[in-house]
């Protein structure tokens, strides 16, 4: 089952990371590393259309066209305007091309089916305010959308939105068209925040929202109740008057499974919940079985967002608990958890779980700034490869303290050797975005292969029924979806 390492995602030029030429060595290239395919670990995973053969991107387009031809677009008139809303994270999935292809296809099919020509792309971000500007250029979306593609940031001009719970605030540029299309994906990403509750709706309270709304999510309601923010906005009369349909890349941890388009976002959300809980739930639960390891960051993304097997590092920080179990109020890492550490460096409440104790050291070979990450280096011994990378973090307003707790080592090889000696473990998990699988050390591969069948059964028989019950999802829809995936 062990294979040679999968080629990691290549370093990308960005104002948020070091110059790609400074990334001399990828950890997957070092001796002792192997790869595991997720489909080998969990044979029941559905087939993917991307990654695939040479026509994989064409297959994504075909799937998008087919799905977009079936949805109701009759509300869009030729003389009207449409905003296609997208978010930064989609461009970090499987190299970014599949999401960009979806966005291009949406424009083409709307034009074809409605005659509408005034179609704009509005691209939201997290905390790196120019991130989607970079993606728009990289994937040629500015020319494809005929100069009507712009990035948006949460500090941009806002508008009040009256909701069932009171006034929240959206970005003006999101809603300055007659109709909005919600173009997203089912990748789970921040399970520690959303807990797979209304994940498909979340951008309405996050990348499409102003700072006041995002702060409401992260500070005002609590770790689980926070997920109501997006639903409150989406259900508002104002947003409902503009919402036309949602178009999602169906993404599993191993690749793109298909494209899902629906006028009913909640129906799509239930299907996304199935994907998030079952497909991602298995690999996430498996990673919780790791007893000790060195975690390697090696991907063009901020520290918490680097990927291994479709799981982000921030989720691995909480893999010692069940992130999907809503009876656990606080994961090991989420912003509410971070907020609740007192001045003595310990949690204010005794039942707050620690950061995953299996992570003995973090080797930061290549990762971007632009997300407050000092909490990670404060709690996990961290070595950063290259002085340039350490210096870059010292210039980031969000990370002025990251290097207070981390140290730099000149080369990747030296950093790994140091980590092996200091921790005494040879188990390594590499967060480098390896598509369809994961790059790990041989010793860790053995452990994962041994545990995978037991985890698969546990998720299917014990955990999934509990997770679905906690979310009140319509099981009949999910059973239908299971049939179509077989």
């Amino acid at each position: 089952m062990m294979r040679k390492p999968i080629k990691p995602i290549t370093p990308k030029p960005s104002q948020y990371g070091i110059n790609p030429s400074l990334v001399k060595t990828r950890v997957a290239e070092l001796p002792g590393m192997v790869s595991l395919l997720l489909k080998d670990l969990f044979p029941e995973l559905p087939d993917t259309i991307f990654p695939g053969g040479e026509d994989a991107l064409k297959d994504v387009r075909k799937a998008a066209e087919d799905a977009l031809m079936k949805v109701d677009m009759s509300m869009i008139k030729p003389e009207q305007s449409v905003n296609v809303l997208c978010s930064h994270h989609g461009f970090t999935l499987f190299g970014g091309e599949p999401y960009a292809e979806l966005l291009k296809t949406i424009k083409d099919i709307i034009e074809k089916r409605t005659g509408c020509k005034n179609i704009r792309l509005r691209a939201g971000v997290g905390m790196r305010f120019r991130e989607t500007e970079e993606y728009i250029k990289r994937y040629g979306l500015d020319t494809y959308y005929e100069g009507k593609a712009i990035g948006m940031a949460p500090v941009d001009e806002g508008i009040p939105i009256e909701t069932e719970i009171g006034t929240l605030y959206g970005l003006k540029k999101v809603y300055d068209a007659d109709w909005i299309i919600h173009a997203h994906h089912t990748d789970v990403r921040e399970v520690h925040f959303h807990r797979q509750v209304d994940k498909a709706v979340k951008p309405f309270g996050m990348s499409y929202a102003r700072i006041e709304t995002r702060s409401t999510y992260h500070q005002n309601l609590g770790p689980r109740a926070a997920n109501f923010v997006a639903r409150a906005i989406f259900e508002s009369e104002f947003v409902q008057s503009k919402f036309a349909f949602a178009a999602f890349l169906n993404v599993g941890p191993h690749g793109i499974i298909g494209v899902d388009v629906d006028n009913d976002l909640y129906a799509l959300n239930d299907r996304a919940t199935f994907i998030g809980c079952q497909l991602y739930g298995k690999i996430m639960t498996l990673l919780g079985e790791i007893d000790e390891c060195i975690a390697v960051l090696d991907f063009p993304c901020p520290v918490p967002y680097v990927f291994s097997a479709g799981v982000i590092y921030a989720n691995f920080l909480g893999a010692n608990t069940d992130l999907y179990d809503l009876e656990n109020p606080l994961p090991s890492y989420t912003w509410y958890t971070e907020a609740f550490y007192g001045k003595n460096g310990k949690p204010i409440l005794d039942n707050i779980p620690p950061i995953n104790p299996a992570i003995k050291m973090c080797v930061h070979n290549y990762a971007w700034l632009g997300y407050p990450s000092a909490f990670f280096s404060e709690h996990i011994p961290t070595v950063v490869v290259g002085q340039e990378q350490g210096d870059l973090f010292d210039t980031d307003p969000l990370n002025m303290k990251y290097m207070d707790y981390a140290t730099t080592i000149k080369t990747t090889e030296a950093a790994m050797n140091f980590a092996y000696r200091a921790t005494g473990t040879d188990k390594v998990i590499i967060f480098d975005g390896a598509m369809a699988g994961m790059n790990v050390s041989e010793s860790l591969a053995k452990l994962l292969i041994e545990k995978a069948p037991m985890i698969s059964e546990k998720v299917d028989k014990v955990l999934l029924p509990k997770w679905f019950k906690q979310r009140g999802v319509d099981i009949s829809i999910l059973k239908e979806l299971q049939k179509t995936q077989k």
Partner: protein, 208 residues
């Protein structure tokens, strides 16, 4: 406490005087005068919002020759008043409210005792909300109100628009209507209340 190492610098050749930098600065440190943006170097807290939102790429962040050390020494102020302000805002004094700078609620509360009256004063004096400038706006607004000051939005800017719902004022009918969808409204309010009322330092059993 924050060490401010960066300073915004305007390239007058590129600046068009559009005023977006003014609208997004959390400490009102950049103003357009005679159609060009001008940075008040003493007031700039190095958040880079102006640099990140300038449509003409006319602002760059440069290293300060001498870093600024900003922050409030909490120990110099009335601890009971600090606790009172935090509790009124439903925050534990020791809880972190700004994840980028690491500012705790007690430091913001102490800032009011040191003369702060507005969210912009808080950011200027403590450094809170001068990292991402996004996630901590609500606890800051809650603390301004808890300290007894009225919130007055800058009508010419986009610094902030207003307070939003909290766990303590969610409508009962909403909680009932969506109770089965995994939001755990009541349980989360109980958790937040427990945090607010747990005495630090050292956790819930240390000196309770």
């Amino acid at each position: 406490m924050k060490k401010v190492t960066l300073l915004a610098k305007v390239n007058n050749g590129k600046c068009k005087g559009c005023k977006i930098c003014e609208k997004v600065c959390p400490v009102l440190a950049i103003k357009v005068k005679d159609k060009k943006a001008v940075v008040d170097a003493d007031a700039c807290r190095g958040c880079a919002n102006c640099e990140q939102r300038c449509p003409f790429y006319a602002v760059e962040m440069v290293k300060r020759e001498v870093p600024l050390e900003i922050g409030i020494d909490v120990s110099k102020y009335d601890q009971e008043k600090i606790k009172e302000i935090c509790e009124k805002a439903n925050l534990n004094p020791e809880q972190t409210i700004c994840y980028c700078v690491g500012t705790r609620a007690e430091e913001v509360a102490a800032a009011f005792l040191a003369g702060a009256k507005t969210p912009e004063d808080v950011s200027s004096m403590t450094g809170a909300r001068t990292g991402c400038t996004v996630e901590c706006i609500q606890p800051i607004l809650r603390l301004v109100q808890a300290a007894g000051y009225e919130l007055a939005q800058n009508k010419d800017g986009w610094q902030w628009y207003g307070v939003t719902p909290t766990a303590w004022n969610l409508p009962e009918d909403v909680k009932k209507k969506y109770g089965s969808r995994g939001f755990y409204f009541e349980e989360d309010k109980e958790l937040l209340d427990k945090i607010v009322h747990t005495k630090c330092e050292g956790g819930e059993h240390h000196d309770a």
